[in-house]
């Protein structure tokens, strides 16, 4: 079984982002870019399934310009066998991405798609579910455990009330939550090897997808700042403030 892992390049999780003063968006110039953490978890899961003999090949796919190749290579260094980049502008909407991914899944005849539950830039949490809808496949989102037995899958999901286990059969789309696994760091030899792994580029036009945006970003602004508070000296003073100043207890 071939596993397809869609990944996204994002501003690194530990960078403080800066909103552009003209309100047009977030500054991505000269900031550290990384694989979206949830995509790393998806990739790790796929690689483990290959190591366990359950999967035959792990194919990484990403949509964007040549700028994202560095991040694609870091995914190859983790252990994906090869990669596909669909050449397009960098910030397509999840619906367009899902349509493009559908094309790739069908071309590759993948039996399982594992992707991150959300990317930490747009925080949309849409692509995996949209892809499963377009493929008419079952979906298991926010996975914290994936168990495969032939074409049967049992996936434990992190839900608001706790955990839920669903049974479904492959092919399916699984999206990852934080506790599914801890992604490995690529070793130096694997980083070297990754440079030689195949990275095929497909033109957006060849996917037949109309990626026209449906949403116009009217404005991006910084959130309201919280004004700085005060330091209290003791528990007694804290309780007094909460009772008599803030009046919240």
């Amino acid at each position: 079984m071939k596993i397809l892992v869609p990944v996204k390049r994002v501003i690194d999780a530990y960078v403080s982002i800066r909103v552009k003063s003209d309100g047009s968006g977030v500054d991505t110039n000269n900031v550290k870019m990384s694989l979206n953490p949830f995509c790393e978890i998806a990739l790790e899961e796929a690689i483990r399934l290959k190591e366990a003999g359950t999967a035959s090949e792990v194919v990484l796919v990403s949509v964007g310009s040549g700028d994202i190749d560095t991040v694609i290579r870091s995914g190859l260094a983790m252990g994906a066998d090869r990669a596909i980049r669909v050449d397009a502008e960098d910030d397509l909407e999840p619906l367009a991405i899902a349509k493009i991914l559908k094309h790739v899944v069908e071309q590759e005849e993948a039996g399982l798609v594992i992707t991150g539950k959300q990317s930490i830039d747009g925080d949309n949490n849409q692509t995996g579910q949209m892809l499963s809808a377009l493929l008419d496949w079952p979906q298991a989102t926010f996975a914290s455990e994936v168990a495969l037995d032939g074409s049967d899958a049992k996936v434990t999901r992190e839900i608001d009330g706790g955990l839920e286990t669903v049974a479904l059969s492959l092919p399916a789309v699984v999206t990852t939550d934080l506790r599914l696994n801890e992604p490995r760091y690529p070793t130096l030899p694997n980083i070297m090897k990754a440079k030689k792994k195949p990275l095929d580029v497909i033109a957006l036009a060849d996917t037949g997808v109309d990626a026209t945006k449906r949403n116009t970003v009217v404005n991006v602004s910084p959130p309201e700042e919280r004004s700085a508070g005060i330091m209290v000296e003791s528990v007694e003073q804290l309780i007094d403030k909460l009772k008599n100043e803030a009046k919240v207890i």
Partner: protein, 308 residues
């Protein structure tokens, strides 16, 4: 055209987040309907009919709606979509799982996690863990939207809408819920509590978390946690507050032994009053705290409990 709100429930109680979602929906248009899809969920339909601002409750009942499985509900919703300009659900794990599937089937680009309705087609939503707010205008004929519950007040419950029964969609059957481990607690719901006490890695162990729970119980509060505390197994996953956990906005949020990473702040910085207790005076949590106390939590928290 009307607005359809997808009710969240457990077949007996309407979830509070639906009340916030209805408030958001009433800002998108005048005629708000609520879909209650469940199994033996007549009581929920009756509760939904009492929500102020709701014009009609659409009730579909079938065994295969019992667990709110997305592949079952999405078929039903897509079948009903013809009558609606907006389809709206809470940005809970149920809504987040369901709505993108609905959106893709309707060929709509979803707008996730909105915190404000500027007009019927323009919405505000946080991006980058709440470090930026995007105003987004959507061009789709049918808008598919999830609503961040803390962004909107809960609707009142003094309405009296009619309940109309609709036929259930055929069973899809591709996905079955085979187990649930739900956290049972006497404490208020984390998402809706007016006071939340959260513990982080500084608490040190599951055993020590009793200190946090003790303070929460004294205050009648819900208990939350940072990702580090959840990852370390001190508390279950559903306690996590943050970018990828729950978003809370209580009157009082007490962060104990939490450093204040941006991903954590994303889930609590809209709280009315924030208290931070941390032994490191440099901890970033103090930059958002209204009241900061530099102290060892193992001394400060028990002292607080005894003084309250």
């Amino acid at each position: 055209m009307s607005i359809l709100v997808i009710a969240e429930h457990d077949n007996s109680e309407l979830h509070v987040s639906t009340l916030n979602t209805v408030t958001a929906a009433t800002q998108m248009g005048d005629d708000v309907h609520v879909l209650v899809a469940g199994s033996g969920a007549g009581d929920v339909a009756a509760q939904a009919a009492k929500v102020s601002g709701v014009g009609k409750v659409v009730h579909a009942d079938a065994d295969h709606y019992k667990d709110a499985v997305t592949t079952e509900l999405s078929d039903l919703i897509v079948g009903l979509a013809g009558d609606y300009s907006h389809i709206v659900a809470g940005a809970t794990t149920t809504g987040k799982d369901l709505m993108p599937r609905v959106a893709a089937l309707l060929d709509s680009a979803q707008i996730s996690d909105i915190i404000a309705v500027d007009s019927a087609d323009t919405f505000k939503r946080p991006i980058y863990a709440g470090n930026a707010i995007a105003t987004v205008q959507n061009a789709d004929a049918k808008k598919v939207i999830t609503v961040r519950p803390t962004g909107f007040d809960a609707a009142a419950t003094d309405g009296s809408a009619e309940v109309a029964t609709v036929e259930a969609s055929a069973e899809n059957g591709s996905t079955k819920v085979v187990g649930r481990e739900l956290t049972v607690s006497e404490r208020p719901d984390l998402g809706a509590a007016s006071i939340v006490v959260s513990g982080g890695r500084g608490v040190g162990s599951a055993e020590n978390f009793k200190i946090i729970e003790g303070l929460a119980d004294k205050l009648g509060a819900a208990v939350g946690a940072s990702r580090a505390a959840v990852d370390a197994g001190y508390v279950p996953n559903d306690y996590q507050v943050g970018q990828t956990g729950k978003v809370v906005a209580p009157n009082l949020y007490v962060a104990v032994g939490i450093s204040g990473a941006i991903q954590h702040l994303a889930g609590m910085k809209d709280s009315k009053v924030i208290v931070a207790i941390n032994k490191d005076e440099e901890a970033p949590i103090f930059q958002v705290a209204d009241y900061g106390l530099v102290a060892d939590l193992f001394e400060a928290v028990p002292e607080m409990v005894s003084q309250l």
